[in-house]
Symmetry: C2
């Protein structure tokens, strides 16, 4: 059974007055309208969310959204959580629901309403995606995890802080054309270097923001012009200390990528456009290397050499990425897939000419949860 994209919808990412239910309704209603599908035709619902119980006091999002979205027929609805990869793990389960012949029309809603809390509270909530028993008690938070990986990379693998700046500049440039992005403005190298250090070597403009937002996708077994050809998952060890010596290498992305290429029958060089998990600038480098687009040590130069711009030879994060589009945790993985669908429909804000095959790589925590999905024109 092949899996196709029937419709998509999302909110603008940013700071919203609406709660998680209201954001989800906006995204899901747009997706149903886009698909020409009524609520009673949805056969299953998977909700990707990281921590709405901590952000808003609402767990149990399956039936909460079932009711809010006006879905019918007492369908199966549940909530999947894999930290910042929650959205794509929900997509993975929805993909399987159709692939395995269990349903014909499945909705995925990724959502996170984060700004209900203060920044210090949010930093603490995000830290629950790390190892709570051995790492968190040492005081590490997510900028710290990625700063450790960035430090290792810059010292032992290659590149400079200036190369990271070029990634932030590229993704802000892409976001400047995307009305759904949180930061619709370009940044300069002066702004980058003038911004405060968050965790050495990462400064403010290396970091994705705190965001509210929702993204919805309806998958179907009925032939449509975009196919979700594969959506494969992998995990690796949670704590940085439990990984190999090169802590900058994302083994889970590498493995999930190989699985996804294999199921879809494509290779890294076939990918015309990719959305990858740049929660920090260094993470974009880690992803494009683990996915086989660049050799280890060479991905960090890609933005500086304009290769990963939408009109370059390997376009990456054409919607602005987590960095500038925003990162409402549970919505992120689904929004990546939406950008790829737009590219394959030739309707993207930064259109890649003739895009036929696209990829998403969504990562949870400091790297242990990974989903790689491949979409193509069918």
């Amino acid at each position: 059974m092949n899996v196709y994209v029937a419709g998509t919808g999302m909110t603008k990412f940013g700071k919203h007055a609406e709660n998680s239910m209201e954001l989800s309704v906006e995204a899901a209603a747009k997706a149903m309208e886009d698909a020409g599908i009524a609520p009673e035709e949805i056969e299953e619902l998977y909700v990707g969310n990281f921590a709405q119980n901590l952000f808003e006091g609402q767990a149990h999002l399956g039936p909460a959204l079932y009711g809010s979205l006006g879905l019918k027929n007492n369908i199966k609805a549940t909530h999947v959580e894999s930290a910042c990869a929650s959205g794509s793990f929900a997509l993975h389960e929805a993909f399987r629901a159709i692939k395995g012949g269990f349903a014909k029309t499945v909705m995925v809603v990724g959502v996170e309403k984060m700004t209900a809390k203060t920044t210090p509270e949010i930093t603490g909530i995000l830290a629950t995606a790390g190892d709570a028993f051995y790492e968190a008690p040492c005081g590490i938070t997510f900028p710290g995890y990625y700063a450790l990986m960035a430090s290792y990379y810059l010292k032992n693998i290659g590149g400079t802080k200036d190369d990271l700046a070029e990634i932030a500049i590229k993704n802000h440039y892409h976001a400047s054309k995307n009305p759904y992005a949180q930061f619709q403005r370009e940044i300069t190298k002066e702004m980058y270097y003038g911004s405060p250090i968050i965790a050495e070597p990462l400064c403010l403009y290396d970091c994705s923001p705190i965001s509210d937002g929702a993204a919805a996708m309806i998958l179907t077994s009925e032939k449509k012009d975009v196919e979700l050809a594969s959506c494969e998952a992998a995990v690796s060890r949670m704590a940085l200390a439990e990984r190999g010596e090169d802590i900058s290498w994302l083994e889970g992305v590498e493995i999930a990528g190989k699985r996804a290429y294999n199921v879809a029958g494509v290779a890294p060089e076939d990918i015309d456009v990719a959305e990858v998990h740049d929660c920090f600038t260094i993470a974009e480098v880690q992803n494009i290397e683990a996915l086989g687009f660049y050799k280890h040590g060479e991905g960090i130069k890609a933005a500086k050499e304009k290769e990963t711009y939408f009109d370059g030879k390997k376009p990456v994060n054409t919607d602005g990425g987590l960095k500038a589009k925003g990162h409402p945790v549970g919505a992120t993985g689904v929004s990546m897939a939406i950008e790829v669908v737009k590219q394959l429909h030739n309707e993207a804000h930064n259109q890649v000419k003739g895009a036929e095959v696209g990829l998403i790589s969504n990562v949870g925590g400091s790297g242990p949860s990974c989903v790689v999905g491949i979409l193509r024109r069918s």
Copy 2:
């Protein structure tokens, strides 16, 4: 592809010094030993958990447990949450992973470490399984939800508080023979009536306790002597106010039950032993009626008439149920399936003679999330 039970394992339920990882390791190691399966043979992991991020600060349980359990090969591991039905929703996804041909050997771990928090904190955490936007702000907590349903039932459907007492007495009697139960002691009617009212008409002995525990099950496509013949899910509206006039009727259980009977090709009268979600005594009544064991209004008399004792004509909660075995939220659904497997293996502590077909009915929140599973000797 048929789905079989390769092995099971669980901790005693109760108050433990161990954290969620340690409890999970105990349950999973027992399951692997029972199955004769090594960690590297596990192809996927689903974790059922309600709120470990609130209880212990640990979200992202897929990779956290992957590492703690010593699993290998960068398998897929994720966390499924549907409030108190989290364990059975994880089982549902694992069932599908095999049924759909995606994997041959899948582990499910249900876990909750609750006693890391105080009772008032835990009551607040559990309330996140209700409607956070309309109901929770009114101050309702879970004893309140079930007290409303019990009040409606006793006033409009039938039965008396004395009938509820008989359910508590039965389940404590069953638990008194179960070394894995939190309360291994019988209670008397005097003790029941002497206990404090929690939410009128429910007193202390109508309520399941706060518990720590883990339960693990390994499913396989290889033929074994117990088959998981179906494991079907349904949801209904979240808020009590959004349901029909009879708020005591669990529509989700009715629908999930019909789906499970249909897939397994059995009827309510074929069920030799059932584990149902008695988070409060009234919930046992609601389940056995929605599952079609008893007509609406008659299930409340079943314990008083000794029919639901292990040696009665319709044995229910032979391990003591949530009421007396304990209710570590995410572990509960998996532990129900373990008790049914023990019954079908003729190894239960309160053995039902000649049990061939068993059922689990696990409910999340005040009724909106439901999974019904059917196991049988193969």
